[in-house]
């Protein structure tokens, strides 16, 4: 039985837990699990602080008004809290920057890795918003609903990931 004090679980245990989260998502919120819309909600609120016209942007307005996006924004904050709790209770201490970046890309300095993280995050969410979902919404949820578009999105994600990872070192 997986417990919080274990340092790790099998990928199967974690996958089952995430799959079971579809039950409250569909029954209580009438939506599927997703994560990337919350970045639009955050971006829309930030934009509205500097740009009085942001709330008139139909795309931003949609993500600021609905309860579904309140739920999803709370969900991603909960993800950070849950991961914090899990790492603490499991006794797992991580370096500030994962060692894999030095091993696979040669990036050593923190500023260089932050610049890489920012640009990666930018492309990540630009892609997710163009596609209309991310690895959660299209991937975990879309494929579980046998949606054709989501299955194509997952194939494209793997293609993009494989091509980009091929440019990195292998070890």
């Amino acid at each position: 039985m997986p417990t919080l004090t274990q340092s790790h679980w099998s990928p199967y245990a974690g996958g089952i837990v995430i799959g079971l989260l579809q039950i409250p998502a569909f029954l209580l919120v009438d939506t599927a699990l997703g994560a990337s819309s919350s970045f639009v909600t955050a971006g829309a609120w930030i934009a509205s602080m500097f740009d009085a016209g942001a709330a008139d942007n139909a795309y931003f307005a949609k993500y600021m008004a609905s309860g579904k996006y309140v739920w999803q924004s709370a969900l991603v904050i909960g993800i950070a809290l849950g991961a914090f709790l899990s790492a603490r209770m499991g006794g797992v201490v991580r370096p500030a920057i994962a060692t894999v970046w030095r091993e696979l890309t040669g990036v050593r300095s923190a500023p260089a890795r932050f610049a890489m993280a920012f640009s990666g995050g930018f492309v990540l969410l630009l892609g997710a918003r163009i596609a209309g979902g991310c690895t959660s919404g299209h991937g975990v949820s879309g494929m579980a609903q046998l949606a054709v578009g989501s299955t194509i999105a997952v194939v494209a994600m793997f293609a993009g990931g494989i091509l980009t990872a091929a440019a990195m070192r292998r070890n």
């Binding site: 919080l4 996958g15 971006g43 709370a74 993800i79 991961a83 990540l124 918003r129 990872a165």
Partner: protein, 206 residues
């Protein structure tokens, strides 16, 4: 439902999500990148398990009339172009949108950069949606599902695909035990590196 209740529910569900992502190591950037190099299969195993579980759950919920499906539209251009960008972003960021938040909680400081970049990317799309969509939104098939293509109901296909996924995972696990891909991740002993089991924790290869 009130916004407050939705926020509390979201926090609770998110905490469970975050625990699963941390414990099963989906949040390690090396796990994601090496999956795309076919050197670590943790991500594929966890992802397909979540899909299979979701298929069974949704077969039951829709079969009992408790829930309706919410499939996303199949727009070929934006789905493929967006998916390719998303995949490239996962490798450069070392995270997908949900796991970036899990990385912050788990202690990776650079994940703040991923989230900041992600918010900037979402804002960029919001301000430039008009011309971006005019370039990528072609081949709109509507909310197309496998049910539309085959004429069969959801539940037998969902259970059938779940069984296929389970069989594939069983075969993959035979060839590639999951423990092999965990060795050497933060807080997990790497027996291969020390040459003997139980010989202290080696923190490496996040």
């Amino acid at each position: 439902m009130s916004f407050l209740w939705l926020a509390i529910l979201g926090l609770m569900m998110g905490a469970v999500f975050g625990i699963a992502l941390e414990k099963s190591r989906m949040l390690e950037p090396g796990v994601l990148i090496r999956q795309f190099q076919f050197k670590n299969f943790t991500m594929l195993k966890m992802f397909m398990t979540a899909v299979a579980t979701g298929l069974v759950v949704l077969a039951a919920l829709t079969g009992l009339g408790l829930a309706e499906l919410h499939p996303k539209a199949a727009i070929m251009g934006s789905t493929i172009i967006g998916g390719l960008l998303l995949g490239a972003g996962i490798v450069v960021a070392g995270a997908c949108p949900g796991t970036a938040l899990a990385q912050i909680g788990a202690g990776y400081r650079d994940a703040w950069g991923i989230v900041a970049g992600g918010i900037a990317g979402a804002m960029f799309y919001g301000y430039n949606k008009g011309w971006i969509d005019s370039l990528v939104k072609f081949g709109d098939q509507g909310k197309l599902t496998l049910m539309d293509l085959t004429g069969l109901p959801f539940w037998p296909m969902a259970l059938g695909l779940a069984a296929l996924i389970l069989a594939a995972l069983y075969a993959l696990e035979k060839v590639r035990p999951w423990q092999d891909d965990m060795a050497g991740l933060p807080g997990i002993e790497d027996d291969r590196a020390t040459g003997e089991s139980g010989a202290g924790k080696v923190v490496a290869a996040g």
